[in-house]
Structures are given as C-alpha cells and as structure tokens.
C-alpha cells in the first residue's frame, strides 16, 4: 500500500468531472439562511379524491367531531372561582366540577385508584334533596298542586314540569334513592322550587371578569 501511493495518486474511482467543478474552482456558496418555510413547488399536486364515498366520509367526520364535544368524555377543567362565594351559586346550572365524573364507567374494569364519585344528572338530584325535608309534609296535596300547574302552564314551564314529575317518580322510588341522597347532599346544585327558569339566570359573574387585570380603566 505504501508502494502504490505514488503510482495511483490521482486516480479516483469516479470521474472527477461528474462532481461538477474542476480543480481550483471555488466551492459553491454555502447557504446562510435556513431553507424557506414554503418553498416554491416545481409540480402542482395531484387533485384530491372526489366522489360520493369521500363526501359521505367527510360529513361523518364533521358530525363525529361535533358530537364528541357533547359527550361526557370531553373533559373541561372546572373554572376556578376568583370571586367570593355568592348566594347565586346555589342556582347556577351545572358547570363541570373536578371531583366528579360525568359518566359511569364499569369500575370493575378499571384500577381502584381511579374511582371518583359519579355525578348524578340534575334531574335525580332535584328529587333527593327536597325529599329529605319534605317527607314529613303532606305529599298528596303537593301533587295536586303540581298537576294543576302542569295543565295550566304546559309550554313555558316545560322544564319545570319535567323536574317536578321526576320528584314524583323519586318519591315513588324513594327507598332506592335514600342511600344516594346522602352522597348528593353535598352537591351544590339545589333546584328548590323557584319561579325563575334557571337558564335565564345570569349572575353577571362573567361581566368584567376579563378586564380585572387592567385596573387603569374605569369600570362602569
């Protein structure tokens, strides 16, 4: 090998002109900036698939995306209350809370440590609370009044009448609800009989909540 150093000195296994530059030429300039973010394309891209199949799948995809936002699997963190506790909090509609889960999984298939209290839907809660306080009271008279209400105000108080019917149902199944009622006692959602439709109520907590940081502006 030492002997052949002189003989085969400038013999390359590839032809030198294939490199693109000869001896003594300066190398091509090196790139100083990163390559552009959207480099111009040499060839236009192939058009997308079209057709009935694709349209159907597109509609399906949009539907799935929209509906998955409404499922209980879509988890939103509970809003931290920056203000003092208010009386109106009792009447707020259901905001997601951190310590309860909105659907009931099969706990036997999950590790025990993941077990959280399952949040009962609003309707069952209504029956539970008033039940405890009103059991000694006369239940029959209440039902008559409720039925009158139902027949008189069908449309506007549809929501209320549903809730009150559930109260009746819960009274019928009160034994089943008894153990659950103790758990739900801690629930803050109390829908006592009020004349106000809950969804109309807005305690104005959101107003001005965004501009709290900027104290220079006067708040009207």
């Amino acid at each position: 090998m030492a002997g052949s150093r002189g003989r085969g000195r400038s013999q390359f296994t590839f032809s030198v002109d294939a490199l693109g530059f000869g001896r003594g030429d300066s190398l091509p300039t090196s790139a100083q900036t990163p390559s552009p973010l959207f480099p111009p394309m040499q060839f236009r891209p192939v058009p997308l698939h079209a057709g009935e199949e694709v349209d159907y799948m597109l509609a399906l995809k949009q539907e799935l995306r929209a509906s998955s936002k409404n499922l209980p699997f879509h988890i939103k963190a509970a809003r931290t209350k920056t203000d003092v506790a208010r009386y109106s909090d009792k009447y707020q509609n259901g905001e997601p809370k951190n310590n309860c889960i909105e659907w009931s999984p099969d706990w036997s298939r999950m590790p025990k440590e993941l077990c959280i209290k399952v949040r009962k839907p609003r309707k069952t809660v209504i029956g539970a609370k008033p039940q405890l306080t009103r059991k000694p009271k006369v239940a029959a008279g209440k039902e008559e009044v409720l039925q009158k209400l139902e027949t008189l105000e069908k449309r506007e108080e549809e929501q209320h009448s549903e809730e009150e019917e559930d109260e009746e149902k819960k009274k019928q199944n009160d034994e089943e609800e008894e153990p659950d009622a103790d758990e739900d006692y801690d629930e803050e959602e109390i829908e006592d009989e009020t004349d106000y439709i809950m969804s109309y109520f807005d305690n104005g907590e959101d107003f001005g909540a965004d501009s709290d940081d900027n104290m220079d502006e006067a708040v009207y």
Binding site: M1, G8, S10, Q11, F12, T13, F14, S15, A18, G20, Q42, F43, P45, V46, L48, H49, E53, V54, Y56, M57, L58, L60, K61, Q62, L64, R65, S67, S68, L71, F73, H74, I75, K76, A77, N98, N99, I101, P105, D106, S108, R109, M110, P111, K112, E113, L114, I116, E150, K154, E158, E165, K169
Partner: protein, 528 residues
Amino acid sequence: MTAQEVRLCGLLLQEHFGNVVEKVGTHLIRSGVLTLRALAHETKLPLDLVKKSLCVLVQHGMCTFGAGRRGPAGPVEYRINCEHIFHMLRYPRYIYTAKSLYGDTGELIVEEILQRGQMTMSSTVKTVADRLTHNMPEGQSMDYSEVVSAFSQLVETHFLQRCPPLASAGSSSSGAVDTPLPVATQPTEPESNPDCYKLPYINLTGQGKRRRSSEGGEAEQRAAKKARTDNSECGDDGIYWQVNFQRFHLHFRDQAIISAVSCKLDQTSSEIVRTMLRMSEVTTPAHAAFTQALSANEIFRALQSSYNIARPNLDQYLSLLVDDPMEFVGKTGDSGGGMYVVNLHRALANLARATLESVVQERFGSRSARIFRLLLRKRHLEQKQVEDFAMIPAKEAKDMLYTLLSENLVQLQEIPKTPDYAPSRTFYLYTVNQLPTARLLLQHCYKTVCNLIERRLYETKENKRLLEKSQRIEAILASLQATGAEAAQLTEVEEMITVPERQQLESLRHHINKSCTNQLLSKHESVT
C-alpha cells in the same frame, strides 16, 4: 415514538377529548410508563382531573394499566397505546365500511361503539334502535330483533369482539386487613379469550322508543328511565364489546389488492381474486404471508353465477394472474385443477413500491421517477451507470440524484478499497432501501396530517365570527321558512353574508378535512 407521531396524538386527543386529556396523554406518551401520582405531579394538574382523563383513555382502549415495576403490591402503572390513537383518524372509514356491508343498522352500531369505546350488547341495541326510530316516519319503530341480528352478523365476521377480561392479581389472597383491593393486571390480548366472538344470551324484546317533547312522551320517558336501570336484567352484565380494528384493516388490505388487480388486469380477474379472498377470510391468520391454498374447482364453485365465467376461462384467468409480474396470485400445486394462493405480503410490498414510485413522480418529475425505478430494480449503481442506464444527460442526472439524496429517498453506500476510507479509493453506490423509505414517507404523512389539523384550527379561529354569523343566518332562515316567509325576505337574509368569503372558507375546510383522512389511509396500509 417519533416527534411527529407524538404531535399527531396530541392533536387528535385534543380534538376529541379536550385539552386536559391531551395534556395527560402527551405527557404519558413522552414518559413511557408512569404511575398516577407521578403523572399528576409532573403535569401539575389536579389529581381528580388526571383520574378522569385516565378513565376516558382506558374506556377507549388507548391506555393500558398493569402492575408496575414493584410487582402487584406496588402502584399501578399506565402506558399509552399510540396505534389506537391513530385509529381515530380512520373512524369515518370504518363506519362507511360497516354501512356498505351491513346497511344503516350496522353503521349505527359501529358508530356508537366507536364513540363510547366499549359497550354492552344490550345498551348498544337499545341506543341504536332509538336512533333509528327517531329517523323513521311517525308511527313506525325499529324492532330490537333486527338490531340484534345486525349485531350478530358483525360479531360472526369478527368486526366486533369482546373486550378482554381482566385477570385480577392472585397474590392478593393475603389476609391482611389493610391490603389494598386487588390491582387489575394487564388485560390480555382479546384473541386469547376463547369466548372472544361468542354472543351472550340476552332476553331483550321490544322496540325503539321515539323521543317526544310533548306531554304524551312522559310515559315513554318513564319507561325509558326504567329500562336504563334494568340493564343487568338483560343478562349480559360485564360483557363489553369493542371494535376489532385489525379485522377492518384486513378488509381494507383486501380491498386494496382487489382494486389493484382490477386496475392492472380487468374486472373479471378482480372478481376472481375477490372470491378467493372471501373464501379464505376467516381461515387465514392475520399476518399470514399467503392465504390458504384453494383449488380451482373450489373457486369455480364459489364464483357467483352472475359473472358467467366458464371453467376453461377461469383457468386462463388464473394462469394470467399467476404470470403477472405483480405476483398477486401464486400456484402451489396441481391437485384439484391447480392449487392457488393469494400472495398477501408480496402483493402489499409491490403496492408499496408502486406508491413510492408515484410519490417520486409527482414530486420530482418523470425523469427522477425513472432514476428511482432504476435504482429499485438494479439495487446498487454508480453515478456513471445511472446516467447510462437511465439515458439522461450527465448534468441533469447528477442534479436529480443529488435532489433525491437530499430528500433522503436515495442512499449512498460506500465500498472502500482500502481500510482508510480515502475518497479516491472508495466506490460510491446509490441505492434505495424500500422499507426505511416507506417509513420515511409515513412520517411525512403524519406530519402533513398534523399541519393540516393545525391549519384547520387556525382557519376556524380566524373566521369564527363569520362562521357564527352564518350559523345564525341559517337558524333565522329555518325559522322564517317554518313560518312561511316570502322568497324576497329569504334572499335578503342570505345576502347578508359576503359570498366569496364564505365559499373560500368552506372549500378550504373541506379540503383540509378530506386530506386528513385520505392521505393516511393508503400510505399506512402499504407499510405493513
């Protein structure tokens, strides 16, 4: 887990389950395996939120848990199954396949189970019957038995399978009072359960309930509520069903092969291949290299009479298929008129190669594609040889080769003549490695999907005002039409939106949506 895959998982989780689950999921993917406490500590989220997210992920089969490093007595560890998250991209395709095979009922069953992760048979049947009844005209309702029969068909063809049962740790037999409740160990593979595809016996009779908002619906609501609490009475408590993704993928693979045959040869050959694949659907294991051997007599008997293929024609078609360079069908024997198999792996490899070639052609032009195909066939070539074989002038060939090299589609192999890799005494050969290149393209696809999703989110945010306005307009239109307004009022309302803006936005979002699904489908199947 590549960076692109992690990013894609995060975006998908965010799209379907929200920001909290996304944070938990991405952190768990990056860290590998974690316990609950460690996860809560590192993500700095409240423990309850982490618990809820893990419940969601376990419910959908994306997260598995098991006894950790310290054995069954230690804390439970969780890990994420990324492949499962990628399947979320293909949900529409699964649903569409179910629809084409089993009609609307099958479609709704698969959709319900996909959205909920796992469900019992009885709850699926009830929900689907209710949904179908809702769409039917007044007075009609869907009977449970029809839904049950569609469900059984899906199970028989293995599209649905039982969720694997959890084996609880046997070591918790110690009698200590403060022993923690048995930690469920890693769920076993679903296929290892012998009852995987066995339908449970349920006594479920009735019809779908129509949800009505009027007073008359009270009785139904009451009955519906009672029915929901009576789940355990149906007899299939604890038996959950999930979608068998692998079976769907096998179905897609078969479809790809059949369409390739029909493109390359003709319709009749593709029908023959379809028959062969259908006959060996359930007998062929998932990752087999080729199907079971089928004799020509069997194929002839199984062919549908509508195709009108005579026996000698069938033999000719089969010999054509065998001689085809794509090697879809192979002949393994002569008994029974000739034993034929479908070469699954080889067909897929050839399809992948064709995909690679077409990608290079579309991105770099047909001459670069010629060089690429040359390298695929000749394996290793020097630069001079490339120029000669491809019949392209030296300067241009060099340019194209270097472009392909910089994109990493072509690799350089050095063969030294001397132990020191002196450039003057080394051969430099260009080569293409098919599998790594295919994987590279797959990563490109993931990146593209990520970019498209982010672009869609950006566009939606930018034009949120416009979108909301159009939604309000639609609502107003609907209400106006309901009250019988004049056409002039309608047009006036419609013109409130500037048409070009709306069109542009809609078309952009449509394209983005379409690209998301379509791109990933073909590429992934080719890289099996």
